[in-house]
């Protein structure tokens, strides 16, 4: 028994030795081919796939665009799990492979970034939706890290406002993924938007606490479909789905119902999901989307690094004031009057005359 253990070790070591022996040659080759000092940009995905039609995809599109515009090499890695160790490992892989600029979307990276900001002082990190801390929520943002937040509540507010104005009367609902801050803020903003429309524009849109649900995952498509079906059956007209893959399930359900002539809607999230909701010709069940411009944030940070203006050590807030959130430029399902009213509210948010709360208060959970 011991013998064959030893043999396995030998095999492993042979690989290791062969690896070391050829190491120099390979690295040299690499340096010859690529330009010295060219920035290489990496990204580590959060739970879910790169083509999740929302968070990961939005970030990656920003990175890709920057790569094209500035001629940079880009690469993303998918961690084996969702623990801090998995994230740190993948970030380490990118840094060791000379990708010294790493974008990490998601609050789950918070403690991982806290770890790597010291471990790799010569690398730069962009953390979206979170700030580095040691597990105690005490922010420690080093010079090589930028932490980016979005005003999801403002984005959700605009989505809720648009939905209420477009429906005039009826009922709206919410499906969240996991009960994490970004999703909660979307939810609370959405409710405020609906209430704002009811108060100021005398729409009659109902919200029922039973229909504001966190499914609990970001990837259970079937569960999203079931939840949405139940809500539509109860008479809900539009659902705000801030839930990754679960939202895709809700969109699928709405598409199936729309195809049979039912008037049901989904308010998209993160990115413009209009194309996702197309069920016939160019007709889509996406009323509008509560967007946060993740791609823009990623792009801007890369550009800042190239320009030498990387805002290291800062916690940035992307909100209406700096065009970090909003609804799509084109909303074929919204009346022009509605779009105009939403634009008005957007301007008020920018001006600070309209303030959306980012805490629950007396709103639904």
């Amino acid at each position: 028994m011991r013998k064959w253990l030893a043999l396995l070790l030998v095999v492993v070591f042979v690989f290791a030795v062969v690896g070391c022996a050829t190491e120099d040659a390979v690295v040299d080759e690499g340096e010859d081919v690529e330009e010295v000092a060219a920035l290489r940009v990496g990204m580590v995905t959060d739970a879910g796939t790169i083509d999740d039609k929302s968070f990961n995809q939005g970030t990656w599109e920003g990175v890709l665009l920057a790569g094209q515009d500035f001629g940079l090499e880009t690469r993303y890695l998918k961690p084996g799990g969702t623990t801090e160790a998995d994230y740190v490992t993948e970030i380490g892989n990118l840094v060791d492979a000379d990708f010294k600029f790493v974008v990490c979307p998601g609050f789950k990276f918070e403690t991982a970034i806290f770890d790597v900001q010291d471990r790799y002082p010569d690398a730069k990190f962009v953390l979206i939706d979170g700030y580095p801390h040691a597990g105690d929520w005490e922010p420690v943002v080093k010079e090589n890290v930028v932490s980016i937040f979005f005003a999801e509540h403002e984005s959700g507010f605009l989505g809720g406002l648009a939905a209420a104005l477009q429906l005039q009367e009826g009922e709206v609902a919410f499906i969240g993924g996991m009960e994490i801050p970004a999703v909660q803020k979307f939810n609370w903003g959405f409710q405020q938007g609906v209430l704002y429309a009811n108060e100021n524009y005398s729409t009659q849109v109902v919200m029922n606490a039973d229909n504001f649900i966190y499914q609990g995952t970001f990837d259970d498509v079937a569960a999203g479909q079931v939840l949405a079906a139940a809500m539509f059956d109860k008479g809900v007209d539009a659902i705000f789905a801030a839930a990754g893959g679960v939202g895709i399930g809700a969109i699928n359900e709405a598409k199936a119902r729309a195809a049979t002539g039912q008037a049901v809607w989904i308010v998209g999230v993160d990115v413009d999901q209009y194309a996702e909701g197309i069920y016939e010709g160019d007709k889509s069940i996406i009323l509008t989307s509560a967007m946060k411009y993740i791609d823009v944030a990623a792009y801007d940070m890369i550009k800042a690094e190239l320009d030498g203006t990387f805002p290291g050590g800062e916690i940035l807030m992307f909100n209406a004031a700096n065009f970090g959130i909003g609804i799509p430029k084109e909303n074929p399902n919204l009346d022009p009057e509605v779009e105009a009213l939403v634009a008005e509210a957007f301007a008020a948010l920018q001006a600070g005359t309209l303030v959306v709360s980012d805490v629950q208060g007396d709103l639904f959970k």
């Binding site: 043999l7 993303y76 084996g80 892989n93």
Partner: protein, 371 residues
């Protein structure tokens, strides 16, 4: 003598399976337009290139060792434990709950954590065992169901009792005193995630081997696994052994959960079934269900998992393809059972060849004589 022979055969077969897996992975790399040699170079380098990465490979392997042991142990009794993931979750939940609740000195706290994890996992394993013994419910079905019961139990209990001030989806961070990570080990491996779990794993590999080879308990369990009817006719309590075997398997997986949640990871997230629970099946298959075989197989898989990201980063192989490559290697490696089946055929073929050859030689001798 025979035993050694079998071990040697098993080892050769596992090695052959691994090589076959690597070849299959190479073909996949080649088909997707990458250089397999380069790919494998970075794959193994990623797992071994410095002391930190070796530590990470060991740390990744640790829960796999336990999950593999769990599957292998149950398999010795003829039971297929698919419930490793659920048992890990419950073991991890117990460990996390103890770790977050009590404020004791590290040695005492860790001991209690380990015991709690074992008890939790054992209960989670014993229940399907009981169902099998009492009502003949197939353990594959029961353990899969238990996985989901564990999943939702964690889903509700963690936010209810163990969450931190902000996040609803994960437990509070495990305090240093309750973590299997120790600073001397972390710094010895220059910041790796390696933790005391690896020592625990080695100890339990040895204990499992000891139980199976040297104790009446192991003798009984294996007897039931090899031939249930004969064991029963000989007066061995088959049902008792089924429950016991599943309980031990569950305890091992539960320990794996502890090493994962309070060792490798630093808190417990809800909504995730640990994939190690399922990888354990492949580990046990590749390790030919022997404890030290499981140990070696888990190290190999740990190496692959750790090296994968570096291969991704250094080559143009996209992560999805890399996952497929790793899965292919594991798949081929784990199908050593099929290779075993063909091994005898191969031997027979060789025998036939030799026979034909000797016949030909004798024929040639005859014709030579005629000339």
């Amino acid at each position: 003598m025979k035993k050694k022979l079998i071990v040697k055969k098993n080892f050769l077969m596992s090695l052959f399976a691994v090589i076959l897996g690597l070849i299959a992975g190479a073909i996949l790399m080649f088909v997707t337009g990458s250089n397999p040699i380069e790919g494998f170079y970075y794959l193994f380098r990623g797992g071994l290139m410095n002391i930190e990465r070796i530590g990470n490979s060991l740390a990744t392997a640790t829960p796999l060792i336990f999950a593999g042991l769990s599957v292998a142990f149950a398999f010795k009794t003829g039971l297929f434990n698919i419930g490793g993931a659920g048992q890990m979750l419950i073991g991890g939940l117990c460990a996390t709950a103890v770790g977050l609740t009590f404020d004791w000195p590290k040695p005492i706290l860790l001991t209690v954590i380990i015991i709690a994890a074992m008890i939790g996992g054992a209960l989670w394993g014993a229940l399907p065992g009981l169902l099998k013994a009492r009502f003949n419910v197939h353990e594959v079905v029961a353990t899969i169901m238990m996985n989901w019961i564990a999943y939702w139990t964690v889903f509700y209990l963690v936010p209810l009792y163990l969450k931190g001030p902000f996040l609803e989806t994960e437990s509070q961070r495990i305090p240093m005193a309750a973590s299997l990570k120790v600073s001397w080990l972390t710094s010895l491996f220059s910041g790796s995630y390696i933790n005391l779990g690896i020592f625990l794993a080695i100890i339990f590999v040895a204990i499992t081997a000891f139980i199976l080879e040297r104790t009446t308990l192991g003798y009984e369990l294996k007897a039931v696994g090899y031939n249930r009817d004969a064991a029963e006719a000989a007066g061995i309590g088959v049902n008792r052994n089924i429950v016991l075997s599943m309980a031990v398997a569950g305890a091992l997986a539960g320990l794996g959960g502890a090493t994962f949640y309070v060792g490798f990871a630093s808190n417990m997230q809800i909504g995730v079934l640990p994939s190690q629970g399922f990888d354990g099946i492949a580990v046990a298959l590749l390790g030919a269900n022997s404890p030290w075989g499981v140990f070696a197989a888990a190290l190999f898989f740990g190496l692959l998992h750790t090296g994968k990201g570096f291969m991704n980063a250094m080559t143009a192989i996209p992560p999805e393809i890399a996952d497929t490559i790793i899965a292919t290697i594991i798949y081929f490696a784990a199908t050593s059972v099929l290779i075993e089946r063909n091994w005898d055929k191969l031997n027979k073929f060789r025998l036939a060849l030799r026979l034909r050859k000797s016949k030909q030689e004798s024929l040639e001798d005859d014709s030579g004589g005629e000339q």
